[in-house]
Amino acid sequence: MPTSPKGPIVRIQSDDFDTAQILKRATRDRPNVGAVVTFTGLCRDEGGKLAALELEHYASMAEAEIKRIATRAYDHWPLDQLIVIHRYGKIAPGENIVLVIATSSHRQAAFEAASYLMDYLKTNAPFWKKEHHKDGTSDEWVEATDKDDKALERWKEI
């Protein structure tokens, strides 16, 4: 049996990351893992209008809060690994914003944990997105949506 990290891995960074490479590392030599779910959140170009997204964050709380959410997921589902990477700073269209990887011996556990993580990151992780436009119109803060709040209702029991 391979050694399993004790609890989730959380990284908050300004640099872009390579999902493919992280995924490869996460599944190498872990013969007990049957299911791997990844979620990658990418910066959309909003129909070509977006020059860049700027993510402001509350650094010390972001780390604490994501660890709290990830630990709750890790304790609730039978996971082998749970990896969360969230970027801050300036992000160009097509670049990564966030990555969640959940590995488990059960596919539904991996799906649910990754989906739960994303729903909570959207509404509870202290990051704020500002859109910079190509056409020079003024920068705009992205507004939180009701849909994201509603997504949380599924997880009341956890």
Partner: protein, 84 residues
């Protein structure tokens, strides 16, 4: 008390963080927010829509503004988050 402001609340107050001595009569988050508004029109403007203001106490979300501030070292004010 250390106070932090983020996103458009930061832009409206014009400061990212400050160190303030809270008046002794302020006991709760709600009392703090009411006092903050009286500090100038930039603060009043930043907090004009109470439903858009989120509060964290020592890096934990606070959803009940009647919560006491005793023992708290850091208050952060920010709009609803848009991470992920």
């Amino acid at each position: 008390m250390k106070i932090l402001y983020f996103a458009w609340i930061r832009e409206r107050t014009g400061i990212a963080q400050e160190e303030v001595d809270l008046p002794g009569e302020i006991k709760t988050v709600e009392g703090f927010l009411n006092w903050l508004k009286t500090r100038g029109e930039e603060f009043d403007y930043a907090l004009e829509n109470p439903s858009a203001v989120r509060v964290a106490l020592d890096r934990e979300h606070c959803s009940d503004f009647s919560q006491p501030l005793a023992g708290v070292n850091e208050i952060a004010l920010f709009p609803p988050m848009t991470g992920g």
